[in-house]
Structure formats: C-alpha cells, structure tokens
Amino acid sequence: MKKRNSRSQLTAAIVVVASILAVSCTPVKEYQKGKINDSEMVLSNRKIEKTELSFQSYREGASGANAGKSGGGCGCN
C-alpha cells in the first residue's frame, strides 16, 4: 500500500512538473540562443566528471538517469 502511494506521488510530481514547464515555454529563435548555447548550460555531464560518476556508481547503490553508462565493467573493489 505504502509502495503504491509513493509511486502515485512520484507520477503526480512528474505530471505537475511537466505541465508547469509546458505552459511556461516561450519560443526561442536560433539567434536568441546565445545564453542557452553556452558550454556551461549543457544538460549532461561533462568529460571531466567521468571518473567522479564512475566512483559514485561503485560506492553507492543507485545509478543511471544521468545520460551515462548503466553497466559494464566492474572496477568494484
């Protein structure tokens, strides 16, 4: 019962966030993307974070949803 509650709360949270984002979008033309295209604005991990992500995935039980590898290779001492 508790499991089902937390799942429905998570689903509700995703729907709310997605709805808020959908209604607050304003169209941005290519020539207006100066700030969006800045290298620090990228929506993924940077190359320099590779070893960090690797040790976090070994030292912690959770992994994934960060646009990286989801398995393969042990390195798990």
């Binding site: 941005v28 070994y58 959770a62 290779g73």
Partner: protein, 382 residues
C-alpha cells in the same frame, strides 16, 4: 601532442559556415583523474577492515566529423581509457598474504560511437560499441540511439538502448578455495532503455527529463566478498540473479544575469532489492572574466539499505541471500568541491587549438565512515 599541433596548423578556422566533406578532427579531450579513498567497512573482509584504495584514470576522446554530399553530418567518437588501481581490500582476498597479486590491477576500456545527423530534419541516429577488461572481469557493450528535435528546434526527444554482456572470473576468498582450486566463471547481462526529453523554456532556462529502465540478470554477487554469519562461519556473498532498476531524473540550467549559471539535478531511484535513493546536485559556474570561470558544486545523496544487507555477524543460516557490502547499506553522503576553467584566447601554453583547461577537485564523505578525494584535469583541443 605534436601531431595535433601540426594538424591545428593545417586547418584554418572555419568562420564561413563551410561544411567540410573531408573527415576532420573536431575535438579531442584528454582527461586524467587521481582518486583516493579510505574507510573501515570493506566487503572483502565481511564489512570490517580497510577500504583504502587509489585509482589513476587516463582517457583520450577523439571526435571526428565529416559531411556527406546530401548534407548529412557523420560523427565518429573514439575513446580509450586506462585505469591503474591499488586496493588494500582486494589484497585481503588472501588473508595470509601481505601483498598478493590482487592488491593492484589495470582496467582498459575503449569505445567507438557513430552518429548520423540530418540537421535539416533535426534527426540523429547513433550506434556504439564498448569493452572493459580487468584481470577478473570482461565486459562488451553495444548501444543504439535515436533523437528527434521538435519543429521549432526548442525541444528534443531521445531514446537509447544499451546492453552489456559481462563475464566474471570467480575469484573466491582464499579460505573458501580448498586445495587451491582454479577459478570458474559466470555471466552477467545488463539491458538498459533510456527515454529523455529536453526543452528550452526561454532564452535563459532549459530543462531535461530522463528515465531509465535497467534489467540485470546472471551472477550479480561479487565472488570475493565475504559474509560472516552470527554462528562465526564465513561464506561468499550471495545475491539474487535478477535486479530491476528505475532511476528518474530532472536537470535544469539557468543563466542568471551575464556571468552566473545555475546547474541543478535531482534523481529518484528505486530497485527490486528495495533500495531507494535521492540525489540532489547543484553547481554554480561563475564567469570571473571571459577566459576564466570558477564552479563551486555540492551533491547530496541518501539511500535506504538493500533488503539483503546486514553488517558483520548479522546474517544467519536461514537467510536465502546475504551481503555485508556497505555500498548497499543505509547511508547519506556529501560531495563538495570546486572546478576551474581557463579558455585563454591564444590557447593553453600558446597552442591555439588546445583552447580549454579544466581542473576539478571534490571531497566525498559518507555517513558510514568512508571518505574520498578526487582531482581531475581536462585539456581540450578544438
């Protein structure tokens, strides 16, 4: 280094929008890291004992691009990495040895990715292969991906499927290997599907929603992890042969004013071993000058214990599955540090195309007595 320098002199900087039909190096990244950790809960010695470990990692990533006659962009990404690590806990696979063969090892991991991008349609198809080799572990991976931009180019939907086919050498703790028997082997397979959607909200804000479904089967224990039962007997770790993981994340980047960027990330994770986790990450790059920026960051992580975890001496003969690996225990952790980025107009050390130098340091503390430090350096050619 000299090779790339010569190449850099050959190719004039393209400011006309001309798209080369020759294959040319677009970007090279050299990344090196030094990682060190210490703790008192090694799974090799049943949840007690040193976790001292050092790892030196070096990777080179070369991205090459060419345009086809129909304007299709072809990208080839070749990456190779090698790690050298020393591990005090691995050394304890043989309890009587002072420094055994397992006290250090190397890992080699090359990968190759090809992307075919139709810029007119905003559509990209990708395919990739990878491998990872250690003394007791061999992994082969493959992936395919597809992404489609929205009509107004403000949103992008992506789907990716990855698989890893792994083979482990079953290196048992020494006292569980009577008569010096040889190593057996076992397989482990991972299948991961990822869906993501990114959206530009306005001229300063963009967000990404991402979710994975990951299924693992095969030998999911580690053969050299000991578990001491309450009756004093010692056993090899034993875990179920399936695990199903669901991580869901949201990422946002916001450009505040002219010099400050806020990067935020949150992830919720749950799996079939009853492990649940929350991750929150905040990084604030500040552009001090046009060529120099500082990025302080903080990451908080918390997880519940996997249902098969108990500490040293906690398990009994009635348990079907058992581990004393503290990576699967209940804990929270903090990771704090700073990044530094230099992009001098004349290039690093006067080499024009080697135009970015990044250094990043982080300190990690876990509530069950594990600490670690990592320093990384990235030099980029473009």
């Amino acid at each position: 280094m000299v090779l790339f320098q010569l190449r850099a002199q050959d190719i004039p900087v393209d400011s006309t929008g001309y798209k080369s039909r020759k294959l040319k190096v677009e970007e090279v990244n050299l990344v090196s890291s030094y990682y060190t950790q210490n703790g008192d809960h090694s799974a090799v010695t049943g949840g007690i004992g040193t976790q001292k470990l050092t790892d030196i990692a070096n990777t080179i990533d070369v991205k090459m691009v060419k345009y086809g006659q129909t304007g299709i962009k072809h990208t080839f990404d070749i990456e190779a990495g090698i790690d050298h690590y020393t591990s005090a806990s691995s050394d304890m696979i043989d309890l009587s040895a002072n420094s055994s063969a397992s006290s250090s090892d190397n890992r080699f991991y090359p990968s190759l990715t090809y992307l075919r991008e139709n810029e007119q349609k905003g559509q990209t198809l990708g395919i990739g292969v990878s491998s990872s080799t250690e003394f007791d572990y061999q992994s082969f991976g493959g992936n395919i991906s597809f992404s489609q931009k929205t009509k107004d180019r403000n949103g992008e939907f992506s789907a990716r499927f990855q698989t890893f086919i792994d083979q482990l050498k079953l290196v048992k703790p020494d006292e569980l290997r009577p008569g010096g028997e040889g190593y057996g082997s076992a397989g482990r397979n991972t299948f991961a599907g990822t869906l993501s959607y990114s959206q530009i909200i306005n001229q300063r804000l963009q967000v990404l929603l991402v979710g994975d479904l990951i299924s693992q089967n095969g030998y999911l224990s580690l053969p050299f992890h000991r578990v001491y039962f309450s009756d004093g007997t010692v056993h090899q770790e034993k875990m179920p042969d399936t695990r199903f993981k669901i991580p869901i994340g949201i990422r946002a980047s916001y450009f505040m004013g002219d010099n400050i960027i806020i990067r935020a990330y949150y992830r919720y994770y749950t799996d079939s071993w009853d492990l649940k986790a929350h991750t929150a990450d905040l990084e604030i790059p500040v552009k001090i000058t046009q060529a120099f920026s500082l990025s302080p960051f903080y990451r908080y992580y918390s997880q519940s214990a996997a249902k098969y975890f108990k500490p040293y001496g906690g398990h009994s003969q009635s348990d079907e599955f058992y581990t004393s690996n503290y990576d699967l225990s209940k804990f929270n952790s903090s990771f704090v540090g700073m990044g530094l980025k230099l992009t001098p107009p004349d290039g690093i050390f006067g080499l024009k195309h080697w135009n970015t130098l990044e250094i990043r340091y982080g300190h990690y503390t876990r509530s069950n007595d594990l600490t670690s430090d990592i320093v990384s350096i990235n030099i980029k050619y473009r």
